[in-house]
């Protein structure tokens, strides 16, 4: 019988609980499943009957790595509903906080979760024996991202300083200036990260993806912009649900999101990079070119490289915000609730995070919808695996399994978010 199964019961180095199953029969992949068995978390139901002002604190708990993304999307949704637009220093502080999250999350994924795949280690602890300098660099980089979150947000995990309309308390100019030296080190370390990662071997792989990300006329996208794609989508975020829908599959406690017109799509650093390359700083672009990238990158295995480029950008952007920061007169803008629907869509480190709330006249949430980045990438991840395994059936099982896991980690999946995932099984029959 010419058949086999690749099976990973519990995938390591991803956030959350999931597994992977591939069935091969007569040299053909017949079945690919990302089994998401992390239990459903019911956050959308928790939010019913809560006040608009509680959503940033509650939704932040969906993720310990990207709580800022949840807070930002929740705040922007309420502000969209109540007709408030945040500008000036408060907007800049939000960007700074998001830079902190991008730096800590990208550093975590590059160094702790993904690099061991490329260098042939089970985990970062094993890797540290042979690459102590790199691991130390990664840890310090992460720590500096955390420092931004602690200063602006109050703590590095589940910040407490974010509110609808802005912040409870704005940091002083002096406090922010205190981050400058560390951030300069971080910027250089991020450039070094690009160089280091560019020495890795990347499996040859690409598909005809539809990349989806925000695009803003003046900046690399974080909090605001139109939703655009590499296949012509260009909509305001308020029209998200006219173009995207979630569906349930039996093997996954995370919903799968799809473009109604064309099916699977790809969110995250690669999508942002391909759709917004010209908005990167000259240094980030240079780091990308030096690492061998052009303005378009379609190989998901090079996502680790693009994350490093985005880390350079985030450090520079944080330095820019700090250099120009003026304390706002008041750290927040007052909002007045009204019967309305609000949409928020911001760029979490691993891709767009969409929130939609319906509010009553007292500002209580009557209905909430949250679409995290990982559920938007699930379809693409399964399709990647199918094609990837098909072209590599000659590989021995252990090698194939290794590369399949690596292919999943390309997406920096956050299963805990998506269930609001990983084990691998390849079955050769």
């Amino acid at each position: 019988m010419n058949a086999k199964t690749i099976k990973v019961d519990v995938l390591a180095r991803v956030e959350g609980e999931g597994g992977l199953f591939v069935r091969v029969r007569d040299q053909r992949v017949t079945e690919v499943k990302l089994n998401i068995f992390e239990p459903p978390r019911f956050f959308e139901a928790f939010l019913r009957g809560r006040k608009f002002s509680e959503a940033p604190d509650i939704t932040a708990r969906i993720c310990g790595i990207c709580p800022v993304a949840y807070q930002m999307s929740a705040c922007h949704a309420a502000e969209d509903a109540f007709g408030v637009h945040i500008e000036g220093s408060i907007r800049e502080l939000r960007r700074l906080l998001y830079c902190g999250e991008w730096i800590e999350s990208h550093a975590l994924h590059i160094y702790m979760l993904h690099a061991p795949d490329f260098l042939g280690y089970e985990d970062v602890i094993q890797m540290a024996k042979d690459h102590p300098e790199a691991v130390q660099r990664g840890l310090r980089l992460k720590k500096i991202g955390n420092q931004i979150m602690t200063l602006v947000g109050g703590r590095e995990i589940h910040p407490i300083n974010v509110r609808v309309g802005g912040f409870y308390k704005a940091p002083s100019k002096q406090q922010l200036k205190g981050l400058t030296e560390d951030l300069k080190w971080a910027r250089d370390a991020a450039v070094e990260t690009c160089r280091w990662v560019s020495t890795f071997t990347f499996p040859e792989f690409q598909r005809d993806y539809e990349f989806v990300a925000l695009r803003h006329p003046d900046e690399y996208p974080m909090n605001e912009g139109r939703l655009v794609s590499s296949k012509g989508l260009d909509i305001p975020i308020q029209e998200y649900e006219q173009h995207f829908a979630e569906e349930h599959h039996k093997h996954s406690n995370a919903l799968h999101s799809a473009l109604l017109e064309r099916g699977s799509y790809f969110v995250g650093p690669l999508a942002r990079y391909n759709l917004n390359y010209e908005k990167l700083t000259p240094l980030a672009q240079k780091a990308a070119r030096t690492a061998g990238l052009t303005a378009t990158c379609r190989n998901p295995f090079q996502g680790i490289l693009v994350r490093a480029v985005e880390t350079v950008y985030a450090c520079e952007e944080a330095l820019r915000v700090i250099a120009h920061y003026e304390e706002p007169d008041k750290p927040y803008v007052e909002v007045t609730p009204r019967v309305s629907i609000g949409h928020g869509c911001t760029e979490a480190p691993r891709g767009i995070l969409y929130h939609r709330y319906r509010y009553d006249d007292r500002g209580l949430i009557s209905n909430a919808k949250i679409v995290p980045p990982t559920s938007q990438n699930l379809k693409t991840m399964e399709e990647d695996l199918s094609e990837f395994v098909s072209a590599r059936l000659h590989l021995p099982n252990d090698r194939l399994q290794w590369q399949c896991e690596q292919a999943i980690r390309n997406y920096d999946p956050c299963i805990s978010c998506a269930t609001h995932f990983l084990k691998l099984r390849v079955e050769r029959e």
Partner: protein, 99 residues
């Protein structure tokens, strides 16, 4: 080890002026377990109780204080019914304001 005392104690040690007394900001600090370093009051907001109830919390008295500040019954229910909704002291207090 998480200390047994409340968030109020940490504000005093940290030198944070009481947000409830000085600013009239409703704060769950008096009934919430310490350990965070009294973060929220240091950022000019009331504690939202994420560490759960401290030992022997006087939730009834605290609710009366909140009511005096103009907090409504449904708001009290929501305040006690968040991350530690089922912790006994918080559960009982939220139920008391639902009747």
């Amino acid at each position: 080890m998480t200390p047994a005392h409340g968030v109020c104690m940490e504000c005093k040690r940290r030198g944070t002026v009481c947000v409830m007394v000085a600013n009239g900001t409703p704060c769950l600090g008096p009934v919430t377990l310490a350990g965070c370093g009294a973060l929220c009051p240091a950022y000019d907001r009331g504690c939202y109780g994420c560490f759960g109830p401290k030992e022997t919390p006087n939730t009834t008295s605290m609710s009366a204080g909140w009511t005096a500040l103009g907090v409504t019954e449904p708001e009290l229910v929501r305040a006690f019914r968040s991350f530690n909704a089922y912790a006994e002291a918080f559960r009982k207090e939220s139920e008391a304001h639902e009747r």
